[in-house]
């Protein structure tokens, strides 16, 4: 150990620069990787939608002056059902990947304390139109879907279908079916869980909702007094979705065109396209962060290599002496590797502390979640391997120093 440490203290500049560089790289890489994972999350969570390219979403159907009348929405729905190739139509307050209208609330089991931040989709025939997979209970009945909502339908009694993850959160270890829910403890309205679906993604995935992307409730019935509805149209598997999309556009323009806000055009997209667009920003930042991590690692690799090469060259004579005194090539190689491990280890340790401090600061300023502990060993391992890679070539060169060098230039 002493022969490992002594040279480091004799020439302090080189080891210091290696340690500093590794510490910085570690702090940056840990935080960038963590941000990367945050941005990646909405892209990886299963959205629960069946056959995304056979689902048409019409959104931005904004009413002018006053909200759409429910009867008018029902007429439109009926007309859409008449389009050949359409199997199911939903008129909803909002739909997955429709980002301009969101209904969120903190929901809790009646008489329970656990609250969960949850998105709501209120509309008729949602399970069928969205192609959701029921894992327990039943779909809403025709009578339940025909209900006349007061307002949007958030604050009234009735049935609800919730996602598995919400069920697990609100009723851990129990069956969710038959349980009752309310939106905050002051709201008198109570919803009874009649069904559970496997997955469904909420339509707000900012930093605040990252932990509960899969918390969703479905309520039946067309929202009334609502100016920003979204319409979902399920296309039969054997029909051409683009053909149907054109028909849907025509029908909606014919039925609702004269009541729309002038200057805002509705959009008619396949769900798959809408999803790509909604997540585009996340994809962009994933690429950016991945690029940053890669460049940080390359720069660090080059830096350690350059420094070690010089550091080894400077000690060529000492290495020659040691070889002359009986050290084998593998001894020299292992000595340099151990030295690198020590330096990179110290740097990593400092870097991890810095990474944590930076994360605390970011948490305070940008509402980021806490850096999970699991990132620290991953970051450390990454840099230690990187260090070993960087030292390999200079160390091999050093181990080939012939003992005779020791006798020269003295």
């Amino acid at each position: 150990m002493r022969h490992l440490l002594a040279p480091l203290f004799r020439h302090r500049l080189m080891p210091l620069l290696v340690v500093l560089q590794v510490a910085l790289a570690c702090a940056i890489a840990c935080n960038a990787l963590f941000l990367l994972q945050q941005r990646l999350k909405p892209m990886l969570v299963p959205d629960g939608i069946g056959q995304p390219n056979h689902l048409i979403i019409a959104s931005n159907i904004v009413s002018r002056g006053q909200p759409w009348e429910t009867s008018r929405m029902r007429d439109t729905e009926r007309a859409l059902r008449g389009v050949p190739g359409v199997t199911s139509v939903s008129v909803a307050g909002s739909l997955p990947m429709v980002l301009n209208a969101r209904m969120n609330g903190r929901v809790q089991g009646v008489g329970r304390d656990t609250r969960a931040d949850t998105a709501m989709y209120i509309g008729d025939h949602l399970v069928k139109t969205l192609g959701l997979h029921l894992v327990a209970g039943r779909d809403f009945t025709a009578e339940e879907d025909a209900v006349q909502n007061h307002g949007v339908g958030m604050h009234q009694d009735g049935p609800a279908i919730i996602t598995q993850s919400l069920a697990n959160r609100l009723f851990p270890g129990q069956k969710a079916l038959g349980q009752t829910l309310q939106l905050g403890d002051k709201d008198p309205a109570v919803r009874t869980v009649v069904g559970v679906v496997g997955h469904l993604m909420r339509n707000d995935f900012g930093d605040g909702s990252q932990r509960n992307l899969d918390n969703v409730m479905l309520f039946p019935g067309i929202p009334s007094s609502w100016s920003l509805p979204a319409i979902g149209v399920r296309v039969a598997p054997d029909a051409d979705p683009q053909q149907v999309r054109k028909q849907v556009e025509k029908v909606i323009q014919r039925m609702l065109g004269d009541g729309m806000v002038r200057g805002i055009d509705p959009s008619y997209d396949m769900y798959g396209t809408l999803r790509d667009e909604a997540l585009a920003q996340y994809r962009a930042s994933v690429w950016l962060l991945a690029g940053v991590c890669l460049i940080v690692l390359i720069v660090t690799l080059a830096g350690i290599m350059g420094l070690t090469a010089y550091w080894v060259q400077q000690r060529t004579r000492q290495i020659g002496i040691r070889r002359a005194l009986g050290a084998r090539r593998s001894d020299i190689l292992r000595y340099l590797q151990a030295e690198n491990l020590l330096l990179v280890g110290v740097g990593t340790l400092l870097g991890l502390i810095a990474a944590y401090a930076v994360n605390l600061w970011l948490m305070h300023h940008y509402e980021l979640p806490r850096l999970p502990w699991s990132y620290l060993p991953i970051g450390a391992a990454l840099l230690l391997v990187l260090g070993q890679l960087a030292v390999l070539s200079p160390a091999l060169r050093a181990s080939r120093v012939p003992p005779v060098v020791a006798t020269r230039s003295v």
């Binding site: 560089q21 910085l24 002056g65 100016s227 920003l228 962009a284 300023h365």
Partner: protein
């Protein structure tokens, strides 16, 4: 002497080209990433209207008269007010300038209907145009008398005037908006704020300002079917949210801004506002304690997170990265300088002082820094181009400016010198005798 150092630096660069390339490239990447992130940050931060918005304050209070359907607690300050309150505050004339405003989206056409355009503009009350400093090309803003009489007058911008009438001097002509005909009394130069700060509650997600093509007084607008794009929150019984509605008497949809030039004025106005709100509460009109507050533009934008957090995060990331590159280059330069200890020792022995040796190496580092800066210029342009290709709301902010070029030049020289100090100091400390012996 300086020229000699430059020549020495040049010779050395040619001796070890790969090492020099690595140093220059590392510095260039670090500088370019930092420049890209800060260019975007600079475009999105700072005053949205330089010299004006720093003394503009928005009025916030809990002015709910009957409570909303779900009667939420007043968790955040609300800037949207009922028109009645906005008018009362503006008409009181207690500030250096005051106006109420809401955004509108309207179809504006010539009276014969041949030319028309759908454009975004402002429905306003009070000294909107003068307080915001909107530059006029022709004509004038509306007068108090016109405002009080609900006279159908409008101010449009030069671009809309040219689109409708083929000339920017459209004063005296008439346009159709909503259900009425408005007389053009003024034409402004195209005007927008650098970043969005008016009506932030209804403009989330679009940080850059957009051109406001028309300005119309609120009385005439509502009379003639031109309503705000979003009618905000309405009292109990009225529908949730409406668009382009003129039936807004029960709604809170308009923002009040006041210009207060000195801290004393701010204090006085704050007192006036508190008294006004408290009086409304005591009269039974406001159901909740009003909690009236003033926010200066910047504080209001921070509060509503008008600038996406990503922008700041990227600056942090790029700054950290530049630091890493600098440490890296410092290491490489140290190795490079110390390899030539022999040469230094000979120069020292021949009479060069430590200061000379230090200067010589610092010049070399500076030259490499400038080379890095030169290479960073195309890399920055590339980085900004990549950002513009991204589907982010602030993509348009990623434009290289001449100011940024000066910053880049200064930054690269600074980076080169800072990075060179440590290695140069290290190499000039070598005692000459020992080195000559080894060499």
């Amino acid at each position: 002497m300086f020229a000699y150092y430059l020549e020495l630096a040049w010779r050395r660069c040619r001796q070890n080209v790969s090492m020099m390339l690595l140093v220059v490239l590392t510095m260039a990447i670090g500088i370019a990433s930092c420049m890209t992130a800060t260019t975007i940050f600079a475009a999105l931060s700072g005053e949205p209207l330089p010299g004006i918005s720093d003394h503009l304050y928005v009025v916030t209070m809990d002015s709910r008269t009957q409570g909303d359907a779900d009667d939420e607690p007043y968790a955040k300050p609300q800037s949207l007010l009922n028109l009645r309150d906005a008018k009362a505050l503006v008409d009181a004339h207690r500030a250096d300038g005051q106006f109420a405003q809401a955004q509108s989206l309207a179809q504006v056409s010539t009276t014969d209907g041949k030319q028309s355009d759908r454009v975004v503009g402002i429905i306003g009350y009070g000294s909107l145009l003068t307080t915001l400093g909107v530059p006029f090309r022709y004509g004038r803003p509306w007068s108090e008398a016109e405002q009080a009489a609900h006279a159908p007058v409008v101010v449009i911008d030069a671009k809309l005037a040219e689109r409708l009438f083929g000339t920017s001097n459209a004063v005296g002509r008439s346009v159709s908006m909503g259900t009425g005909t408005f007389r053009v009394i003024g034409v402004t130069a195209p005007w927008k704020s650098r970043t969005q700060f008016l009506g932030l509650t209804q403009n989330a997600g679009s940080p850059l300002g957009q051109d406001m093509r028309f300005f119309v007084p609120v009385g005439a607008a509502l009379d003639n079917g031109v309503g705000p794009l979003n009618s905000g929150k309405c009292a109990k019984g009225a529908p949730v949210v409406n668009f382009q509605s003129t039936n807004v008497a029960q709604c809170r949809w308009i923002e009040t801004w006041v210009s207060l030039r000195t801290p004393a004025h701010v204090t006085t106005y704050r007192d006036f506002l508190a008294r006004y709100a408290q009086a409304q509460h005591q009269a039974g009109r406001y159901v909740h304690p009003p909690q009236a507050k003033l926010f200066v533009t910047q504080a209001w934008m921070d509060r509503l997170k008008a600038i996406p957090g990503d922008v700041g995060l990227n600056v942090m990331l790029a700054g950290g990265f530049l630091l890493l590159c600098m440490v890296n280059v410092a290491g490489l330069l140290a190795a490079r300088f110390l390899r030539r200890q022999g040469h230094v020792a000979i120069r020292r022995a021949l009479g060069a002082s430590r200061r000379h040796v230090f200067m010589q190496h610092l010049v070399e580092a500076g030259v490499l820094g400038v080379a890095g800066g030169l290479l960073a210029l195309p890399l920055t342009l590339l980085g900004l181009w990549v950002v513009r290709m991204q589907p982010v709301a602030y993509a348009e902010a990623a434009r290289f400016s001449p100011g940024a070029f000066a910053v880049l030049a200064a930054l690269s020289l600074l980076v080169g010198l800072v990075v060179g100090i440590l290695p140069a100091w290290r190499v000039c400390r070598q005692p000459p005798a020992l080195q000559i012996k080894v060499a």
